[in-house]
Symmetry: C2
Subunit: 384 residues, 2 copies
Amino acid sequence: MSETQSFQFDLLARDGNARAGVFHTPHGDIQTPIFAPVGTQATVKAVTPAQLEEIGANLVLSNTYHLYLRPGADLVAEMGGLHEFMQWPHPMLTDSGGFQVFSLADMRKIDADGVTFKSHIDGSTHRFTPESSIAVQEKLGADIIMSFDECAPPYDRKYNESAMARTHAWAERCLRAKTRPDQALFGIVQGGIFPDLRTQSAEFISSLGFPGHAIGGLSVGETKEEMNTTLQLLNDVLPKDKPRYLMGVGSPEDLINGIRRGVDIFDCVLPTRLARHTAAMTFTGRINLMNATNAHDHRPIDEGCGCYTCQHFTRAYLRHLVVSKEMLAATLISIHNLYTLLELVRRSRKAILNGTFDQFADDFLEHYQSTNAVSTPTTNGANA
Amino acid sequence: MSETQSFQFDLLARDGNARAGVFHTPHGDIQTPIFAPVGTQATVKAVTPAQLEEIGANLVLSNTYHLYLRPGADLVAEMGGLHEFMQWPHPMLTDSGGFQVFSLADMRKIDADGVTFKSHIDGSTHRFTPESSIAVQEKLGADIIMSFDECAPPYDRKYNESAMARTHAWAERCLRAKTRPDQALFGIVQGGIFPDLRTQSAEFISSLGFPGHAIGGLSVGETKEEMNTTLQLLNDVLPKDKPRYLMGVGSPEDLINGIRRGVDIFDCVLPTRLARHTAAMTFTGRINLMNATNAHDHRPIDEGCGCYTCQHFTRAYLRHLVVSKEMLAATLISIHNLYTLLELVRRSRKAILNGTFDQFADDFLEHYQSTNAVSTPTTNGANA
């Protein structure tokens, strides 16, 4: 492993287990807690970088699996790397490709050395190893890159034991493979819903000296209570002086519950995917804009919201766009949904700095109408 | 006909037959010559009003046929009219619904009083008359509204004679039906490619006292030479002190040729439709971004262009978006195409004011690679 530039994490305040911090990267500071919009194919779907900046987005995630297949990591490198290619000059994160490859189900075969898989685009055969995942992520050039891991179904103990062992071995190989000093490689904790495995995994991964730690294998079908229990447990095991990243989680109540249990970074396709399926996120629940009750509604999605969409457009207009299958619907609802999650983490951070997070979180959860009690996988390979 | 607020047209300069002027409307001044982006269903597809303002758009067109069917003129009126509904606080124009209804082919039946047609959405039966078209356009509330007319195939003399007679009778009925003083009703000249019919139509329509005149029935299949000949003829017949609007025309060379023959206003779905089909418009021709030659191209679409897209994104990135079927492609290429046409009319206006338009037009046409010699209908009812 090369010497890594200092990716310093300054912990500014703690309120219970909730934390407010700053993670320094070559493309700017990340004020935590933070939510990262997902730009699967080097674009946050239906939203321009200028609109993302206006929303107040900072960290953006992109997917190694997708970019490896199309347009290819060499092309992205030739175009100056991902920041330059997609014109996001702020911090970026790439996943390892692992989760998406494993989501391909019968189109992939795992062995101790790596994974052979078929492209969802053209069926061609490819192979990822810890080393090749790092090599691809180095070509893409994000500020934060991820270890290649294996994510098992949450309730299968045997599978979780072997996936965890593989994840640990691969984490060490990723560390050895890494060469770029301007990228922070995060290790990933696995172990399903099993407290002993989670503890073992967090302890092992923490021992390797990563500048940050990710929590994998949550929001993949376990209950919200099991997710929270696991986060509570990991909060006590993971080192406090490094950022924690809960992968693929992004419903409003999951953000609040995660922040309450010491999580600093979140990402999820949920806000943009819901937007494309006509659903708006608010601080009190979801609104399906297709619903006829919106047809004559003069109100914005959320009267308290400061986003471009809510500052200009009525629910009646948004419903018209949705019913008419107009592309502008996805853009306007995506802007609103992303703004809502970013505003939620901004308000959480402020509350943590003020020492009022518990009250803020209680108030939020009391008024929030949860959509489902079981977490749902939201980053499948083929259609993320 | 009610008394109409003065929709004054100030002719600032003439250069040959080309004109630079200002048309004053309740929602602001229109600097002519101007190109109007089309917002068929109360949205310029894939582009926000803020992006349209950034492009420098001013006049925006929306379609009566589409809005009448969905969401309905009463709903738009209830929401404060089209400007408020779609959040375009600048000048707007609605067509009469005629062209789109006639484009429905076997789904409509014309009589002396109006047209009965079936909705392309659900097959339900509806009827437009000159009076109902004006009533719908008054509910929508655009600054410029259009007479209900009949557009015939360009080479069918018999059909053009009867369509012209009907258009004239309907123009008088539209004038009588109009009640809102804050809308300018334009009359429409028909007559296909037949000089005597065109002259007759322009003379009759001009005699009715409309504050502006539109040229219908061009860009519907005639040759570009026939279009130019017709425009040249009409330039001599139509009154010089009122704006002339060439309906549904928007290729770069057609704009230049139209301005050269005294046209002040243009609209067309071409720039946004081409964008959704991966084609970029430039001052020298079209670029298909799907083409593999763009895969490694570091250049923007047009190195001289000041639009958001060209200021930020490479052809390689745009090709990646196009190949990956990302919605952002339509947004970024639409922004560029609209900017290109708006920049073309801005430069034309400047040249007219400087007395250098002829040179400007010659230079432009010399370097422009035309895509086809026959004009093409671009505003069909069902898919405009």
